[in-house]
């Protein structure tokens, strides 16, 4: 197992290297640079733009730029944000916790609802309730998250006043205080509900089908024959078996949740990685763009690794492969 893990971790290095080339190439192909774009005629002059391009090395040959970027990157220097004028590292450290918080809360919501719905559907397939759940899940998939987000804000924030509509914390609260954490929770809840409740489809479907399949397997028949009660069969035997494949989903989800919240973060002005990414696209803030992309790629790799390792633990056949 250890050997397998080590091999997988080492296997990540060439992938990350390839990814870095792709990320860098794409960034270079993107039109414009931070000094093109919108021009404020009263504040900018062409000489300045040229001067900055030279200074930041945009005029150097591509491979030199790449080597410089990778070398710095490996040493933990992710470059400077041209818009915010601070190291990219600081910027990301500032935003990442928000996104992780949002991701965790929404994941918990997804899990709770998906488990409840998946177990119900799997136990009573082809019933009215099962169809209703399937319908809900597909409506959830079908409604674009920006429409859901805006409707939720107008209904829950403006109409009912239950949740704040923007930001991650109340203005003026000091970090460390009780109120601060309560406020954080209060702010994250609505976007997390939107993300969490709209994302139950794949989990529910998977769980449902797996439960149905497992319920026909020998060990269930044996349990039934031994006179185990139906609820014990479902809650103990089947759930345990169906959870195994779901664990692998968790690995995949790490990066999806962090990178996939772009729209929700935008609508709720929730200052996380997704929103930062979009802002950076608009501002052509390449150092930030490339770092976020690399970060998300890395997290995906890590997620896949975790998924594989978990899977390897529960199903030894994979390890041998």
């Amino acid at each position: 197992m250890l050997q397998y893990s080590l091999r997988r971790i080492l296997g990540m290095i060439p992938l990350l290297f390839l990814t870095s080339i792709v990320v860098f190439t794409l960034a270079k192909f993107m039109p414009g640079d931070p000094f093109g774009g919108e021009i404020d005629p009263s504040n900018t002059n062409p000489e300045y733009i040229e001067e900055m391009r030279e200074k930041l090395g945009y005029n150097d040959p591509i491979h030199i730029q790449y080597i410089r970027w990778v070398t710095n990157f490996v040493q933990g220097d992710f470059g400077h944000s041209t818009a915010h004028k601070i190291p990219v590292f600081d910027l990301i450290v500032d935003r990442l916790p928000n996104t992780i918080f949002l991701a965790i809360v929404s994941l918990i919501i997804t899990y709770i609802f998906a488990f409840a719905m998946g177990m119900y559907s799997g136990r009573r397939p082809y019933t009215w309730g099962d169809n209703l759940i399937a319908g809900y899940n597909y409506v959830g998939l079908a409604i674009p998250s920006f429409v859901a987000g805006i409707i939720a804000i107008y209904f829950f924030s403006f109409q009912l006043g239950w949740f704040p509509f923007a930001g991650s914390v109340e203005v003026g609260l000091q970090p460390g205080t009780w109120d601060y954490y309560i406020s954080r929770m209060h702010h994250v809840l609505l976007p997390a509900l939107i993300l969490g409740l709209m994302g139950t489809a794949s989990y529910t479907q998977f769980l449902r089908n797996d439960v149905i399949e497992n319920s026909r397997k020998d060990f269930v028949r044996t349990a039934r024959a031994k006179g185990t009660s139906e609820s014990a069969i479902y809650n103990k035997h089947i759930l345990r078996n169906s959870m195994i494949p779901l664990i692998t989903f968790l690995g995949f989800d790490i990066a999806t949740l962090i990178g996939g919240a772009v729209i929700t973060e935008t609508i709720f002005t929730y200052p996380g990685i997704g929103l930062l990414f979009l802002e950076s696209v608009d501002r052509r803030d390449y150092a930030v763009l490339m770092t976020i992309t690399m970060l998300l790629s890395f997290l995906t790799l890590l997620g896949n690794l975790i998924a594989d390792l978990l899977y390897g633990i529960v199903d030894p056949r994979i390890r041998l492969g």
């Binding site: 039109p31 009263s42 062409p46 300045y48 915010h84 004028k85 935003r95 403006f158 200052p271």
Partner: protein
Amino acid sequence: MKKKSFWLISLLLVFSMFLAACNSGNETSGNEKDGDKEEANTGEPVEGGKVTLAVTTAPEGVFEAAYYRSAVDAQILEFTGDEIYQVNDDLEYEPDLATWEISEDKLTYTFKFKEGVKWHNGEELTVEDWQFALETMADPDYDGERFNYVEGIKGAKAKKDGKADSIEGIKVIDDYTIAITFEEMKLNNLENLWSHPMPKKHFEGIAVADLGESEQVRTNPVGLGPFKVKSVKPGEYVELEKFADYYKGEPKLDSVVVKVIDASVANGALQNGEVDIMEVIPNQVEELEKMNHITVEETTGVGYSYIGLRFGHRDQEARTNKDDIDKFKNKDLRHALLYAIDRQAMIDAFLSGKGKVFNTVIPSTFWIAADESELTQYEYNPEKAKELLAGAGYKDVDGDGFVEDPDGEPFSISFGHYAGNATFEGRSQAIIQSWNDIGVKTELATGSLIEFNLYNDMKTEDDEALEAFFGSWSTGSDPDPSGLWANNAEWNFGRWVNEENDKLLNEALSEKAFDKDYRKEVYVEWQKLFNEEIPAIPLWENLDLYGINKRLQGVHINAVGFQTNTHEWYVTE
């Protein structure tokens, strides 16, 4: 049976969600209207209070005038800073922190500072703070983008190039008096001079190269304005509190929060009272005007839109423009293109009527603007457009419904527009169909709206796809249009070159033009030239719009913004 009822239910579920959205809007506005009537009766000012200003893009967090880049940072700086001069409602420059006298030769300006003006950290403002700002900006290590504001001072270039340690043209006379000598006599030397002092003591010990990224600029800025930065939550909000020692008088409000929100919930936030004031876009206005507790203030601004026509290329090395493309050389063709467009209808459709048709490129709010009676109005007249085309030799020879050029060659225009707002698609289509309707074949450049940054690069690089292109400018308070329309200007994107053009623009900055009436006369001549030549198709000047909750009073709005008197803002509840 079960299956059928399920179908119904899932559909009902979908539609009830939609209905919830519609209802919530209507009901809320009803409630607000009732509550508002009571409010309107009690309009008395209240001590203190907090006001929320909403912005739709996040501040970048660079709170020093010499370094900021984003418009939102600029709005925050308006609260925290003050300048040597201010711009009045007629866009004229007036003394603020200092008064000045101009020498005989018009090269040296002597500034006399107000005494007793305090920085947020309690230090007193002296001319050294201003000198510090100018010296910093001429420093070779200065990495902000505003060297051009000190460039005109004698010796500034020498310092920038490392040939001098300080700027020759700055002379401190005493703590409150300073003389600035310019390199050459120019009428708008003052307008082009940097006007924000920097807190010298606060920045002490920081190398110029590190200044823009320092704590002192980013999280703990010190200014002269009525409000000071209390806390910054990046990407989310900036909390400002009043500065009691503000030299124009203690601000009436306790605090101002600048909060970032998404544009799609802006109206709801204004309606709900969570936001008190914000700059709004025309799309929002119709709904806002129905809310009784919201006033929509509008004013003619300094922004305008036009359609650029490409006449040539720019030689980036020589920094000159060459008019080497003949497509739009025919003046009647250009006039026809203008007559073809129903500009008022477009304003009504895409700007909710919040714009004003104009026929030059000088917004009417400027004191140099020519009277409309002196200009040709080019009212929508497709028949006239067709006549002009025919008269100029543009006729449909091959019977495809579109005109050919006078040589009988096929003629078509590739028109570019950038992507963004949902109305842009309609706007570009309206222009394209207007031209197609008079028989000038027009296609959307690249086949789709172009991503904004890419679009700007294409304009800068004279991309061939942009034969005609939609453009907008916000000019700032200096009326001189040279930076955008002079023959060799970088941002004269159409590359229009005309002898008379440069002659007039230079004349308007000459010594003779120190006489204001004469200067205006010259600019009126220039506008007449533009109006006759139509080197670009003027569309409309934009109105600046602000949505303000009625509980917030005392906001003075003019062409340069809404933040000229923030210390006088007050709330009524």
